[in-house]
Structure formats: structure tokens, C-alpha cells
């Protein structure tokens, strides 16, 4: 019974195995980036970036069909162009970064949907918006795993300036010139991981696997390394459980994964030891010293 529910779908069906590998790989890449997005108060910017990559992927699709590398390349270029464009506009005009990015994201979502609708079918549009985690071919899996590997390596490299830029940017500026490049590298990592997640979860939900595990982890840890570990674990659990849910209950898989991630978050808000509602309501007797 347990085997049938929890293991059999993956043992018997290759597409399920692929989907699982894909989502676990995405979990390892996206969750740490999500923690930094959350700590830098850029969570909604992550959402905006996800919409920004759509026109790039759509153009890649127009030019080369459903070629994974074309779409990924297009998405990457679009994401980076928009990240830098928004930053430049914020720097040179009165508009602040959040507003300039909002402008870009809305335009790019509309442009992307238009391109896909005109150039392709409704099925393709749904794929772009919601992903096709059950249809991950070898190339896509390769792309996802490469992105995760590159992302983890890059994060390890820029770890120190990234952390310091969040905590004490003045000090970083006074001892190093690495702050600016580290910030840009981080934006590139966000775009990269969104491009990876886009194939499995689509443009509307890709950022969910980045942000939801991160905000979940906030309720379980006070130390950044522990937070990352918990975020990765919860993203992995969400992937595994979401796929099972979609298999047994016939739900669309991408949204099912994000629903589980959301449920974990909601549960953490209530029972999480760090600031969870239950603990706030019943803190226990204070200590002697």
C-alpha cells in the first residue's frame, strides 16, 4: 500500500522518474537563490524576472521551435537585458527600481504571450505559462542539471560579498570593489535558475519553487546555512509530493508542486519554531537567565 502510493509511480514510469530528477535538481539550484532573494527583500523582483524571461523564450521558440537551448538562451538574454535595463532606468531617471521593473514585466508578459499565441498553438502557450514537468526530455534534464551545478558553484564563489552586501553594504564598499559585480552575478543566477525552472513549471510558477521554500525556511532556522538546507529540503519534498499528488489525483503537475510548497509554507507560519504563530501564542515560561 505504501509502496503503491509512494514508490510505484516512480518505479514504473520513466516520465515520473524524469520529472522527479528535474524537480530535485531545480530544488538544489533555486532554493539557495530564493533565500538570498528573500533576505535582500527582492522576492517580488524574482517574480517580475520570471515574467521577463517569457518573451526571450518565446522568440527562441519562434526561431527554433521547442528547442530547449534556443528557448533557454532567449530567456537568459531577455532576463539579463531586462534586469540591467530596469537598473539603468532606476539610476538615470526619477523612477525607482521596483516601478521600472514593474513596467518591464508587464510589457514582457504581454509580448511573450502574443508571440507564442501568434506563432504557436494553445498547447504551446499552456506549456510556456505552466510548464511541462512530465515532458522533460534528455536535453531539458541536461540543461536543468547544468544550470543547478553552475549556480551552486557560482553561489559558493560570490558567497562572501553577497552576504556582506545584504548585511553591511557600507563596510563592503569600504574594503572591496566586489559589491557591484557580485550583485550583477546574483541577478544572473536568478535569471539562470528561472530559466531552468521555466521548463518544468512555466513562467507563472517558476519563481514559486524559489520563494516558497525560502519563506518556509525562515520559520525554522536562524542561521543562513541552516536556512538554505531547509529550503532545499522543502523544495525537494514539494517536488516529490506534488508529483505524487498529480499522479494519484489527476491534478496538473506544475501547480501541484507549487501547491505542496505553499502548504508547507502555510504550516510553517503556524508551527515553525522561529516566529511561528503557535509559538507566539504559547511561548512557555521565561528562563532563569
Amino acid at each position: 500500500m505504501i509502496y503503491d502510493t509512494f514508490i510505484a509511480p516512480f518505479a514504473e514510469f520513466e516520465f515520473m522518474r524524469r520529472a522527479l530528477v528535474g524537480t530535485i535538481a531545480i530544488a538544489f539550484g533555486a532554493a539557495p537563490v530564493g533565500i538570498f532573494l528573500m533576505l535582500r527583500r527582492m522576492s517580488l523582483i524574482g517574480d517580475a524576472m520570471a515574467h521577463a524571461i517569457l518573451p526571450g523564450a518565446a522568440i527562441g521558440y519562434l526561431l527554433s521551435g521547442l528547442n530547449v537551448f534556443a528557448m533557454a538562451g532567449g530567456g537568459l538574454v531577455a532576463g539579463l537585458v531586462i534586469a540591467i535595463g530596469a537598473a539603468l532606468i532606476a539610476r538615470t531617471t526619477e523612477l525607482k527600481e521596483d516601478a521600472s521593473l514593474a513596467g518591464f514585466l508587464l510589457i514582457s508578459l504581454a509580448v511573450g504571450v502574443t508571440i507564442v499565441s501568434v506563432g504557436g498553438s494553445n498547447v504551446d502557450l499552456l506549456r510556456f505559462l505552466f510548464g511541462s514537468v512530465l515532458g522533460l526530455d534528455d536535453q531539458t534534464l541536461l540543461l536543468i542539471v547544468s544550470i543547478t551545478t553552475l549556480s551552486l558553484l557560482a553561489l559558493a564563489l560570490i558567497w562572501r560579498p553577497l552576504v556582506l552586501e545584504c548585511v553591511d553594504p557600507g563596510f563592503l564598499r569600504s574594503v572591496s570593489r566586489a559589491g557591484g559585480p557580485a550583485h550583477l552575478a546574483f541577478l544572473a543566477l536568478v535569471v539562470m535558475n528561472l530559466v531552468g525552472g521555466f521548463h518544468a513549471l512555466g513562467t507563472l510558477l517558476a519563481v514559486g519553487i524559489m520563494i516558497l521554500p525560502a519563506v518556509t525556511a525562515r520559520f525554522w532556522a536562524r542561521d543562513i546555512t541552516m536556512m538554505i538546507a531547509i529550503a532545499v529540503a522543502s523544495a525537494g519534498v514539494a517536488g516529490y509530493t506534488g508529483l505524487l499528488l498529480s499522479f494519484h489525483a489527476g491534478l496538473p503537475s506544475g501547480p501541484a508542486v507549487i501547491l505542496v510548497a505553499g502548504a508547507l509554507y502555510a504550516a510553517s507560519v503556524v508551527v515553525g519554531p522561529v516566529g511561528g504563530l503557535l509559538w507566539q501564542a504559547f511561548p512557555g515560561r521565561h528562563l532563569e537567565a
Binding site: 564563489l157 553591511d168 557600507g170 574594503v175
Partner: protein, 247 residues
């Protein structure tokens, strides 16, 4: 002993309005100088110029061959995100940055150094604490520990003792005196005239333009202090371009 910092007709400011106006002079290596003046006198601006955060509007600063990033700087208001999940130990160990660079490991070998710095400021036992749980005085001590680890030849402190208790103040002053004994050049912007008289051999009285500069006893006279207080705080929106020749 030689000059550590030389200011040549230095003007620093914001949007063309000078906050430090035509400053000329030098700071000797190993000097312990208090920079005193009313609010808006240009003390923080001068320090930002010294550490390279602010570019001069006119004139220049020579730093005796050292890189501005090798100057240890404690700003008046640190833009520190207290909600960030980082421990006191990790925060303080960032002081080793110049020695380690971007990728150098901060490992077990450095543990002793970091713990010694924490002990010097009286924060032994605080290693694992999240920075958000520190009081104002403890936070300031932590920043001083980080300064200690920077091991810089020039140290610039912008109002390091405001809003902290007398005991912490006394302990941190002892650190400043230790730096002076180690022949490091120390500049501190301070409001407490009595503390300056008691601890700092040299002083610069600044009111946008230098009012007096030299031994503390000669600088902090009632006449000079009154003169400094008469400085006008607001920028003059009708001001014309300044045509004073370099001295």
C-alpha cells in the same frame, strides 16, 4: 615621523555646495586627532572623503601611498541589516577581508584571532549570537572588534561613542589609546569636548572651514568654540561659484 594624510585645498560637498571648504594641512603618521565641530560642520563629509567614498569637488587628498580600502572606517550610522541571520563571530571575522580577499578561507586557524578581538571588546561568549539580538553598546563593541581585525594603519571613527553607556565608552577609549601606542593614525569625530580634552593630544575644529588645528589645549579655547558655533548650517541656495585661489 612623516605625513600620513595631506589635504590640498580640499573642498568636499554635495551638489556643488561645499560641506568642507578649502581645507589645507596634514596629519602626521601615528597622530591621535579629534575632529570637533557643530552639526553640519563637515566632519562626516571629511571622513567620507578620506576613505574614498566621496570624491572631492576641488583639491585633493594624499594618503601617504596607502589604498583607501586599507583605511578602517567606522561610519556614524552603520547601514546594518539587523534582521539578517548572521552571527557575531561571522560578522566580526569579516574584518579579515583585506588579508583574505574574496575567497581566502576563514578557518580554524583564524578562530584564535577572532576570539581575541572579541575578548578585547568584552564580547566573549557572544560568538554564536545573532546580531539582531545585540544592544546598542554591544553592537558598537562588535564593530570595534571588526576594526581590530582589520589591523589598519589608519583608523577613522565617526562619532563612535554617541548613544552608548559610560562603561562601554571607557573600554573602547582604551582600545583607541592602544592603537595610538601601536603608532596607528587615528581620527575621531566627537561631540564630547571634555572627552577630547582628556584623551586626544591633537584636535581639528571644523566649521565647514577649518577654525583651528593643532594641540587640543590651543584649539579648544572658548573663543574658537564660539567662532565655530557661528557657522551657518544651511547651504546658501543663492551662492555663486567660488573663486578663492588655492593657498
Amino acid at each position: 615621523m612623516g605625513e600620513q594624510l595631506r589635504f590640498r585645498d580640499l573642498t568636499l560637498g554635495y551638489e556643488r555646495h561645499p560641506a568642507v571648504h578649502h581645507l589645507n594641512g596634514a596629519i602626521e603618521t601615528g597622530a591621535l586627532v579629534a575632529v570637533v565641530g557643530p552639526n553640519g560642520a563637515g566632519k562626516s563629509t571629511l571622513f567620507k572623503g578620506i576613505v574614498g567614498v566621496l570624491k572631492p569637488l576641488a583639491g585633493g587628498i594624499e594618503r601617504g601611498g596607502i589604498d583607501p580600502r586599507d583605511i578602517a572606517y567606522l561610519p556614524q550610522v552603520a547601514e546594518i541589516d539587523r534582521s539578517f541571520p548572521i552571527s557575531v563571530y561571522d560578522m566580526v571575522s569579516m574584518g579579515l577581508w583585506r588579508g583574505k580577499g574574496l575567497f581566502g578561507g576563514i578557518g580554524h586557524g583564524d578562530r584564535g584571532t577572532v576570539e581575541a578581538a572579541l575578548a578585547a571588546v568584552g564580547l566573549t561568549g557572544f560568538e554564536g549570537r545573532a546580531i539582531g539580538t545585540l544592544s546598542g553598546g554591544q553592537m558598537q563593541r562588535m564593530l570595534f572588534a571588526r576594526l581590530l581585525l582589520q589591523d589598519a594603519r589608519v583608523i577613522v571613527l565617526d562619532e563612535p561613542f554617541s548613544a552608548i553607556d559610560a562603561k562601554t565608552c571607557a573600554d573602547l577609549l582604551e582600545l583607541v589609546r592602544r592603537w595610538h601606542r601601536e603608532q596607528r593614525t587615528v581620527l575621531a569625530a566627537l561631540h564630547d569636548i571634555e572627552m577630547v580634552r582628556a584623551n586626544f593630544p591633537d584636535a581639528l575644529l571644523l566649521a565647514r572651514e577649518p577654525v583651528a588645528w593643532g594641540r587640543t589645549g590651543e584649539v579648544l579655547t572658548p573663543e574658537n568654540l564660539t567662532k565655530a558655533r557661528r557657522m551657518c548650517e544651511a547651504f546658501d541656495e543663492q551662492a555663486e561659484a567660488c573663486v578663492v585661489e588655492a593657498a
